[in-house]
């Protein structure tokens, strides 16, 4: 069984292809969205999901989120005194999802299709693959997120011909893909994106605004407890604005209360620079797809942040028409991953369907160019694989040394779109020794770039005369784990104790209650304190006849206080 996983910045989901349709698998709380948060509980067990998200506010030093943004880097994240890499934390999330799927399916899950932002680099893709391995999953395919979203939509309209654009604004990344559907072929025509633009950036902008408006001392930025609570409040207020004209953000710390009223106009004003950044990737994708907007049949929304009316309004104004969102934008990527899993398993229902994807960026080498007769200009980028070429692809180009005297060629490999390599990302260097010069063209080198469906690159250089082959192993990247290291860390991770699944529901409820208790003041706080004590006593009894009604009671109380803490009564 291959599962489809959307490993998101904010939330992760798991889905399978079954009975000719993609289905989401709910977690132990019965929810399909599992927050990508990790926390170490007081007893040393690991909490994943909503309980961990609640503890971001109450126990910020042993909790973390947003680690997807660090994938492919060598940054270390500390939980208490323990150090983790982003791959390991992602692996813990994947393990929780895997456990949910195994519980639902009643069979072990060993293979997965995992989605990545289309604009993820080589290092980030390799890190994602490593995370899968650390969780005990064989990653059958890394699938680009907007492609996944397109698959989810395309699978419903596969009989007709259509062209559409997927606008995918997630928690941490923004992706755009243009898709062309014909004769059961789903062809990604182009994709583009911004790796550092997502819902979290909107929250960060509002947090900054809060510091200004509410006269919060800057020193509080270092207070993890305060920041955790503020971020959560802002996030809730941002969501509330989809339904109400105004929302109140208020955070208390050390007997001081700071508050700010948020409305649509304010949101728009302070998020304008972020909204402006949406445009470039869209224009790029349309350009590369060589399609005018008028030829698109629809604009499709994906990613949780597209729930924001502000973002939808922007999309509508840019495209000159209203976007469609028939599928829940939070779920569409995971559903698409499940479709891809179905394709991998050669499911009968998908017998006739094929999908082709593209390389999201250009890959090439540094080259000297002759200008104005006999002068050389160095450091020009010469792409071998142009961005948005259909993959898998393999391209060869012949290069010659500049000088007759030089004894080797250094082939600098770059990724990016700028004309000069200095503005692109260097992936590696391949040094090729040359035989002494004897005649014209005898020292030419054929350079071959091969880019596979998972978005991994291989570079091969052949000395034409001798046939000696050099292959590049893109190394020297501190963000990557070696095979041995993966095995070691896998063993270490396997020993970690995960909080038992069957107790997660009450654990989460308790974490929510604790978070709310910190937030409230006065009589409300007392009231909640009393409820928490009752709940704790009920839990201690370990008698299901007492625990179950106590949990129901607790949930009602929490719902009541949560509502009160965020919405202003409508004027």
């Amino acid at each position: 069984m291959i599962v489809g996983i959307d490993l998101g910045t904010t939330n992760s989901l798991i889905a399978i292809w079954v009975d000719g349709a993609a289905r989401l698998i709910p977690n132990c709380l019965g929810e399909v969205l599992t927050p990508s948060c990790i926390s170490i509980d007081d007893d040393g067990t690991f909490l994943v999901g909503r309980a961990a998200r609640e503890r971001l506010q109450t126990h910020p030093h042993v909790s973390t989120s947003n680690f997807k943004r660090l994938m492919g880097s060598d940054k270390t994240i500390y939980l208490g005194r323990r150090a983790f890499r982003a791959e390991e934390l992602s692996a813990l999330v994947l393990r929780a999802l895997k456990a949910d799927a195994e519980a639902a399916l009643g069979q072990p899950v060993l293979e997965a299709v995992i989605t990545v932002p289309a604009y993820f680099s080589d290092a980030q893709r390799k890190a994602t693959r490593a995370a899968g391995e650390l969780a005990g999953l064989k990653v059958e395919r890394l699938l680009n997120e907007p492609t996944a979203a397109a698959l989810a939509y395309g699978i419903h309209q596969r009989d007709g011909d259509s062209k559409f654009l997927v606008f995918d604004l997630g928690g941490g990344t923004f992706d755009v893909s243009v898709l062309d559907l014909f004769d059961n072929v789903m062809e990604v025509r182009a994709s583009a994106g911004d790796n550092h633009l997502g819902g979290e950036d909107f929250v960060a902008a509002l947090v900054d605004r809060f510091f200004e408006t509410a006269d919060v001392p800057e020193s509080l930025r270092a207070d993890a407890l305060f920041m955790g609570r503020l971020t959560a409040q802002v996030e809730m207020a941002k969501r509330a604005l989809s339904e109400a004209p105004q929302a109140l953000i208020h955070v208390s710390v050390d007997d001081a209360t700071y508050s700010m009223t948020l409305d649509e106009a304010m949101l728009e004003k302070h998020c304008a620079p972020l909204l402006a950044r949406l445009r470039a990737p869209i224009e790029r994708a349309l350009r590369d797809a060589r399609l005018p907007i008028a030829q698109l049949d629809s604009i499709v929304l994906a990613g949780g942040a597209t729930r924001m009316p502000l973002v939808r309004k922007m999309a509508a104004r840019m495209f000159g028409r209203f976007p469609a969102c028939d599928i829940d934008p939070d779920q569409v990527v995971a559903l698409g991953a499940a479709v891809q899993a179905g394709l991998k398993m050669r499911d009968a229902a998908l017998d006739d369907v094929v999908m082709t994807d593209v390389s999201p960026y250009s890959l090439g080498v540094s080259m000297a160019v002759q200008v104005g007769g006999n002068a050389l200009s160095f450091g020009h980028f010469d792409p071998l694989i142009e961005r948005n070429t259909v993959i898998p692809v393999s391209r060869v180009k012949r290069y010659s040394p500049i000088n007759k005297t030089q004894s080797s060629i250094d082939l600098h490999i770059y990724q990016g779109e700028a004309r000069m390599v200095i503005d692109n990302i260097q992936l590696g260097v391949l040094s090729i020794d040359l035989p002494p010069h004897a005649g014209a063209g005898d020292r030419d080198v054929d350079v071959r770039f091969t880019y596979d469906v998972n978005g991994l690159l291989q570079v091969e250089a052949t000395l034409v005369q001798t046939g000696v082959i050099h292959t590049v192993v893109i190394e020297g990247n501190p963000g990557l784990l070696g095979k041995q290291e993966i095995a070691q860390r896998f063993a270490a991770l396997s020993e970690l104790k995960i909080h038992p699944r069957d107790r997660m529901e009450n654990r989460t409820l308790f974490a929510s209650a604790e978070r709310l208790y910190q937030q409230l003041r006065g009589a409300q706080r007392q009231q909640l304190g009393f409820e928490i004590t009752c709940f704790e006593t009920a839990l201690a009894s370990q008698d299901q006849r007492i625990v179950v009604p106590a949990a129901v009671q607790m949930r009602q109380v929490l719902a009541h206080f949560n509502r009160q803490s965020i919405l202003l009564p409508e004027a």
Partner: protein, 450 residues
């Protein structure tokens, strides 16, 4: 026998295939190929498919061209998205205010909101064009960068240009105007627009036909220009500014700038056209031609001091007294040096003329075989050398030929391969490299016995 195309064979099609047939044939074959394990097979199919699509488009275009001889790059036809959008024209133009209500999205999905985005784009561009002159003349505009950016951004990021279609029309007009050559304000406009419209992306300008292709060259030039050492870059920018303003120039400045400007014209032709204007360069060249070429004469003064003096005068000096004659000549020479030679020397000092013996410590041996047709004597080639950050030769350009191309090239090559110069060497300097040519050995007779 019919002319056949390999790609059509591979797709199992013949010459009357249309785009629809090609897509269908591709889809059919794609389903039998395992993309992951048969990459070569997939690539063959894909290449054939792409060639076939291009061929089909060309075929359709050729048919269209017969029917319609309109200029392909006519801005209003080519870039008017409404021309494609007429199928949607029956949909009502929805009020912008409806966008604020989120629940309005679902029922109206897919309907166009704006009736005429092309007209909006054109109007926005007309506004920019009308104001560009005043913007360019604004006292705050020169030479500061910031106020300009702010002012221009108001036009380039105007609210109505949020619509991508309107923006495209605006951009197309802008590209054409910029590619037509410099006008006041275009130098800044070129930079700011490049940022706003993402022109650093090689493909963004490809949409705009020949104007786009030309502007794309200018963008490439600009990015190469930015690689030049900042100090030197600033100096060149000041010269470009002087050209734009057509500031009155004296003979000295004119000659000082000559190498740099002509070099810029060779290295960055498109950039110069867009940000300086070829007519400005021509104006400068014309001004140059008004001044007699004193430089050449002065260089002779330098080497053979008495040569420029009229012969009868020298004769008279000799006839008087040797001593007086020599002193008079010396005074004359001093006057010469004071008025003219000093002005001629300046550019060299500013640039730093590196003497040949210093040069030879660093440069690789000059590999030059005396050519039979070259007369024996002193061969001198003038070059201009640019160093990079580590003082290696980044570029060496010939500014004055010795008369033998092979020799020029050999010297240039030797400089190109030079070891790093010591720290403190100017980043750009002139070189006059001279070599004594011995009489060539007579070439062996190549007559075939007959």
């Amino acid at each position: 026998m019919e002319l056949a195309y390999h790609f059509l064979d591979l797709l199992g099609l013949n010459l009357d295939a249309c785009e629809r047939d090609i897509r269908r044939a591709y889809a059919r074959q794609l389903k039998s190929i395992d993309q992951e394990n048969n990459q070569a097979g997939f690539q063959r199919l894909r290449d054939a498919y792409e060639s076939a699509l291009e061929w089909a488009a060309w075929k359709a275009g050729a048919a269209d061209a017969e029917a319609d001889t309109n200029d392909r790059f006519d801005r209003d036809v080519c870039f008017d998205p409404d021309a494609h959008a007429h199928v949607h024209a029956d949909a009502a133009c929805t009020d912008e205010t409806a966008l604020t209500a989120p629940q309005a999205f679902e029922p109206a999905a897919g309907k166009p909101l704006l009736a005429n985005s092309a007209a909006i784009g054109r109007a926005a561009f007309a506004r920019l064009e009308a104001d560009l002159d005043t913007l360019a003349l604004h006292p705050a505009a020169h030479p500061d960068w910031e106020p300009w950016v702010t002012a221009l951004l108001q036009y380039l990021e105007a609210d109505e240009l949020v619509s991508i279609d309107a923006r495209t029309v605006f951009e197309a007009n802008l590209v054409i105007r910029l590619a037509e050559g410099w006008q006041p304000g275009h130098d800044h406009l070129f930079d700011v627009a490049g940022e706003v419209f993402d022109w650093s992306d090689g493909r963004s300008l490809a949409r705009f036909g020949q104007h786009g292709a030309f502007l794309d060259r200018a963008v490439t030039d600009a990015s190469a220009f930015k690689q030049i050492d900042p100090e030197h870059q600033l100096m060149l920018q000041q010269k470009m500014q002087a050209l734009r303003l057509r500031t009155p120039i004296d003979a000295r400045q004119l000659r000082a700038d000559q190498r740099d400007i002509e070099l810029m014209m060779v290295r960055f032709p498109a950039l110069m056209h867009v940000t300086v204007g070829n007519d400005n360069v021509d104006y400068w060249r014309n001004t140059c031609s008004f001044f007699p070429d004193q430089g050449a004469a002065l260089e002779i003064v330098d080497q053979q001091p008495l040569a420029p003096m009229p012969k009868p005068f020298i004769a008279r000096m000799r006839s008087k007294s040797g001593f007086h004659g020599v002193s008079l000549a010396l005074i004359l020479l001093l006057i010469c040096a004071f008025f003219d030679v000093s002005s001629e020397r300046q550019p060299h000092q500013a640039r730093g003329l590196v003497p040949q013996h210093v040069l030879e410590r660093h440069m690789a041996p000059v590999r030059y075989q005396t050519q039979p047709h070259v007369k024996p004597g002193l061969l001198t080639v003038a070059l201009i050398v640019f160093l990079d950050k580590s003082n290696r030769v980044m570029m060496a350009d010939i500014t004055g030929t010795s008369g033998d191309e092979k020799f020029d090239e050999a010297v240039r090559q030797a400089l190109q391969e030079a070891t790093p110069f010591p720290a403190g060497t100017p980043k750009m300097f002139g070189v006059d490299y001279a070599k004594q040519i011995e009489p060539a050995k007579p070439a062996p007779a190549m007559q075939s016995p007959r």
